[in-house]
Amino acid sequence: MHWVYYLSNRFRLFLLGLLSITIISSCSEEHQSENEGTSKPNVIPEDVHSQQVLLGRYLFYDKALSIDSTVSCASCHQQQFGFADNVAMSLGHHRKKGTRNALALSNLKEHPYFLWDGAASGLEKQVLIPLNDSLEMNLDILDVAKRLSGNEFYQDLAERAYQRPLDPFVITRSITAFEHTFLSNQSRYDNYLNGDNNALNEEELLGMDLFFSDRLKCAECHSGSSFTDYSFQNNGAVTNYERDSGRIRLTFKESDRNLYKVPSLRNCEVSAPYMHDGSIATLEAVVEHYASGGQLIPQKSNKISGFELSLKEKSALISFLRTLTDDEFLTKEELSDPFEE
């Protein structure tokens, strides 16, 4: 009975939504969320933190955050790909092509800054960037707040979670709260570190030794629990650095030309393609790049000088990189699209 009432209520809302979409689309280019009126949770959690995360989860997956309501954060940051995208350049609103490869997202609390050039000093401030980007979502956060101001579900949740309407503060805080739950720490490599000696097989152990060896030097940049020391480096992997000069864009310092942040390697098995321009398609090709020593470019780190690798070693190194895949993380319900529940 309850259920039927709920449904019919939803249906009324849906009709209302449809009506407003027709009205709105007839007077302007802007559209309401396609997701409007679809599944909302039946149960709102009691504790404030869970409410904040839930609100952020809906916003992260809501296409209403883009000018033409076709793109959500999750369009370019897909859970199954480690919250990266499976194309070199993701498509933004009106299918506009971006200029950089979408970064995978995990364990973001550990990161001191964000983006390939380090332009974003905090996760909350980072939220504004894709919204504002003319190639990504192209909808100013003030307009997002305006667009969602009539959405009872969001307003109710915002009041509960933050005691204020869904304003830019709430939008950035809640999305960040959701992103902070992107914890990837259950890979087979983590299990190995946690004392499960059988978590890695012999080949993977060989790959691990190679990764941390002085010969390959991978861990001189990809160190720590996220496999990055957060430094800015050039690894010579890209053939054309002219299109994107990296960190110099931000600092204007010649010494920062063509430098990019050392990316996390967690879930790198599923976050292909690789590098800031997505120009390397597979882990095999990444390893071949490092073995060859890469492009001759003045800014290239002296830690990248090439090495000999037997076929067995090469496959072992790749196998090791695959042990950083956290299947639990890639499939976890709480991180998935709430509109599809």
Binding site: A120, Q126, F169
Partner: protein
């Protein structure tokens, strides 16, 4: 017992702070900045203004003018106000000061690195640092320090078809300046500082036919020139 003692100590510290607070605060004066805008010495008007730049008569139509002032101090006492000027004359509260004789006023054009790292969505919408002010550079997660936008008729064809845009920001572009000024602050009386802003001075030594556009990143040398010009824009009466 230990906890009790430390609580006691804490309470003592608190109450000792409290004791001298009222005396201190009762006698401080509020400081206001009274801002008058000019263009080449004349009152700033919406009308097209003829200016002489490098010997050419240029018609100028000012479209958008905004500028942050911060880092105020009287001698070595700092005031924590942040002001976002637009083209309207007005009065801005910039902080409190103790009575005494001061001889120097310092201020910054733009925001120091700490203010520049603020998160704009944490301020009320009317606050100078709020996102709503349209001064935040989202891509860099930093603020524009000032905006000077105009349309001009540089080539004299009678049409305002030459756009001028100076958006200056990033920590390197912060400029500090100081004025010698004898100020005697009387207990409890408001202090009013008369500041004149002459926007024409932003164009000092610029060749508008080639130096008309910088968002800082795309032309750092020009941005540096304009930021340096900003020092000449302010004067204290």
């Amino acid at each position: 017992m230990k906890i009790l003692l430390s609580l006691l100590a804490f309470a003592l510290v608190l109450s000792s702070c409290r004791k001298d607070e009222p005396d201190d605060y009762a006698t401080t004066s509020k400081v206001y900045l009274n801002v008058v805008h000019k263009f080449n010495g004349n009152p700033l008007s919406d009308n097209d203004t003829v200016v002489d730049i490098n010997g050419h008569s240029v018609f100028m139509n000012l479209v958008d003018l905004k500028m942050y002032l911060s880092g105020f101090s009287f001698d070595n006492t700092s005031l924590d106000g942040v002001v976002l000027l637009d083209a309207n004359n007005g009065q801005y509260y910039i902080g409190d000061i103790k009575p005494g004789d001061y001889s120097k006023i310092s201020l910054g054009i733009g925001l120091d690195s700490v203010l520049n790292a603020s998160d704009p969505v944490t301020f009320e919408s009317a606050h100078p640092l709020s996102y709503n002010q349209g001064m935040y550079w989202v891509w860099a997660t930093k603020y524009r320090f000032f905006k000077v936008e105009a349309t001009a008729d540089v080539d004299g064809n009678g049409v305002f078809d030459d756009g001028i845009v100076y958006h200056i920001g990033t920590n390197d572009m912060y400029r500090q300046t100081e004025f010698t000024k004898a100020i005697s602050v009387e207990s409890g009386e408001d202090v009013i500082i008369n500041l004149e802003v002459d926007w024409f001075k932003f164009f000092n030594n610029l060749d508008l036919s080639s130096e008309s556009n910088t968002h800082t990143v795309n032309d750092v040398p020009l941005a540096t020139k304009v930021a340096d010009n900003a020092l000449g824009v302010l004067s204290i009466q």
